[in-house]
Symmetry: C2
Subunit: 201 residues, 2 copies
């Protein structure tokens, strides 16, 4: 029982450290993370934090994974059991809501992390890129379901439409971060126009 | 004459430092720049570099300005005296060529710099954001010329089309950095489809 109590406390500590780490990294980058800096922010001992994360790279990887879980909860999970265009629309609306809610203070965590790590080979880049590729696949699957069920024309180009949806949402993030709130509405209209142009006549 | 010779030599030094600084920053971020690191890379004295750039922030600002000049030379200047759709097409092709040529080793300098600095208020953020806003205005002006000259329908939404062009080109940069070369072609097709849909019938 004592062991379980310790483990539960350890997990809570880990969660609170990672919540802070995600916020710091979304504003200052994953390279801006340090075990010493987090220990100070959270009034914890540096040695205690080292017990949770043995190195800066382990801390960065755990932070990316925590951000992934937050993204899944905010953007993927709300789509529930929907399919095809309904699912695609659920992703788009959840993504725009996720930007509006500023779940990460520095905007979309993965857009920042990709720009930071895209030319630094190693496990952190692999984790960031892997998550971006999964997001593209999730979008593409919804688009392909919509084509095969006949909601979109059979000659619709699924690779093109899913690139367009991903780029448009990323563009909404960039412009929102630059202070242009109209970008969320422009992104929604752009994606709807694109889908409408591919509906069967 | 001696003074002029010194000044010319000083300018050449400054140019070579900034060329290196732009390359470093495009891979490791503007925060990854340091006067000491550049001095070591270029086998120069740290005190000599301090004479050119008094502080890290001055070095970052000079680096952003050097990257702006490179972007103008690569993407804006080739459009020459063209107008409207011809100008828009010249920008799109020059931007895709600029990505393909990997003029910045870490992909589009301003995409990386915006992701890094968007939540860090100060002169560096202002310089980065200012350049992005100018790029949007340049695109929007070409779109509006195309509408007012009748190349595009009078009810075409210029703000929407220029958001779409900018987002699509930024998406091509992201995917190209992730190793997906098909993104340049997808971006071209996406933009052409969008323009064709807005031509007068």
């Amino acid at each position: 029982m004592i062991v379980d109590g310790r483990r539960a406390r350890g997990n809570r500590t880990r969660e609170s450290v990672l919540a802070r780490a995600v916020a710091v990294a979304s504003e200052n980058g994953l390279e801006g993370l340090s075990i010493g800096g987090l220990a100070e922010d959270l009034s914890m001992s540096k040695s205690g934090l080292f017990a949770h994360f043995g190195s800066k790279e382990e801390l960065q990887l755990a932070t990316v994974d925590h951000a992934r879980q937050m993204f899944v909860d905010a953007v993927i999970a709300p789509a529930g059991e929907t399919r095809g265009l309904e699912r695609l629309d659920a992703y788009v609306e959840a993504f725009l809501a996720y930007l509006r809610a500023e779940i990460f203070p520095g905007g979309c965590f993965f857009a920042s992390a990709a720009a930071e790590f895209d030319s630094r080979p190693g496990p952190v880049r692999d984790a960031v890129v892997g998550n971006l590729i999964r997001w593209r696949r999730v979008l593409q699957r919804a688009v392909e379901d919509a084509i095969s069920s006949g909601e979109l024309r059979p000659d619709a180009d699924g690779a093109l439409l899913s690139f367009e949806v991903a780029s448009t949402l990323a563009g909404a993030n960039t412009d929102h971060q630059l202070g242009d709130d109209s970008s969320l509405d422009l992104a929604r209209r752009s994606i709807r126009n694109r889908i409408d142009a591919l509906r069967p006549v």
